[in-house]
Subunit: 145 residues, 2 copies
DNA sequence: GGACAACTCGACCCTAACGTCAGCGTAGGT
DNA sequence: ACCTACGCTGACGTTAGGGTCGAGTTGTCC
């Protein structure tokens, strides 16, 4: 008699309500709603009473978003990228259209790699800071050199 | 005839005004002022007309702050840490006082290392994302598998 | 067919860490 | 005296959510 599997296991084609989704991807309800407001994802539908309903694709999408976050993309940037991905995923696309989309994707790749390298720089900056902290903490006495 | 070397080279004991400082450390004027508001640093003085004046120590301090930022410390946390550092730097400190301060510094070290490891995790998440993006970009046709 | 707990809704205000703008005063050179 | 670059305060705007509210919705148990 399961109609929507809201609080249990799930097979293909099931829908989840927001709390379920939030828990699965490790975001707050508020955040998921906010992402919707920002145009990052839409629920596949609503219950009669207005509860949001999501499918597995939405969960995938949210996990993808979570992966982008460390790179410091703004929500607006993520929206653009996701839209682009969606466009590329539409079936039956003219070859030149597809090529154009893929070119645009290429610039995103470059941007992402740039951000990745600044992230790596930040790690080394952070490492040097932590190293310095260690030194401060181990300098036992007030006596200089 | 140089009185304060504001727009040129500088030797020991010189003071700088905010634009100079900002440029040297790579922060905006607004940010430097905001850090003051947040209690992270104070100018060593002001001109008669009210211009902030900083010394080399302030510049060092700002550079240190910049190193902390990638670790995701809040300004409040940085303030605490800087205050602690200042206390440790005061000369003629009783041995037990110093020990207590150093213990507190130890917890900061732990916290910083924790943050550093989450930062490293973020790098690997980001790497996997960029990798996936590459794949998306290279999947030439719409034909599956 | 009512009670009930758990869940969700939209709406609102709050926060950190700045960006940006306006209007006006300063510093220092000529 | 005047010019130009520089700085001041104060106020509002932005991003990415967090918290809280009263009110409505679901599924379940009797």
């Amino acid at each position: 008699m399961r109609r929507n599997v809201s609080r249990s296991d799930a097979a293909r084609g099931d829908v989840y309500q927001i709390g379920d989704v939030a828990e699965r991807v490790g975001l707050s309800l508020r955040t998921v709603r906010y992402y919707e407001e920002a145009g990052l994802l839409m629920p596949v539908g609503r219950t009669v009473g207005g509860f949001r309903l999501y499918d597995v694709d939405a969960i995938e999408r949210l996990l993808l978003i979570r992966k982008m976050k460390p790179l410091g993309f703004t929500l607006e940037e993520m929206r653009s990228l996701l839209v682009l991905r969606d466009e590329l995923a539409t079936p039956g696309l003219a070859a030149d259209t597809r090529a154009a989309l893929q070119e645009r994707l290429g610039t995103w790749v470059l941007l992402a790699e740039e951000k990745l390298s600044t992230l790596r720089e930040q790690v080394s900056v952070a490492e040097s800071f932590v190293g310095g902290l260690h030194d401060d903490a181990e300098r036992t006495g007030g006596d200089a050199v």
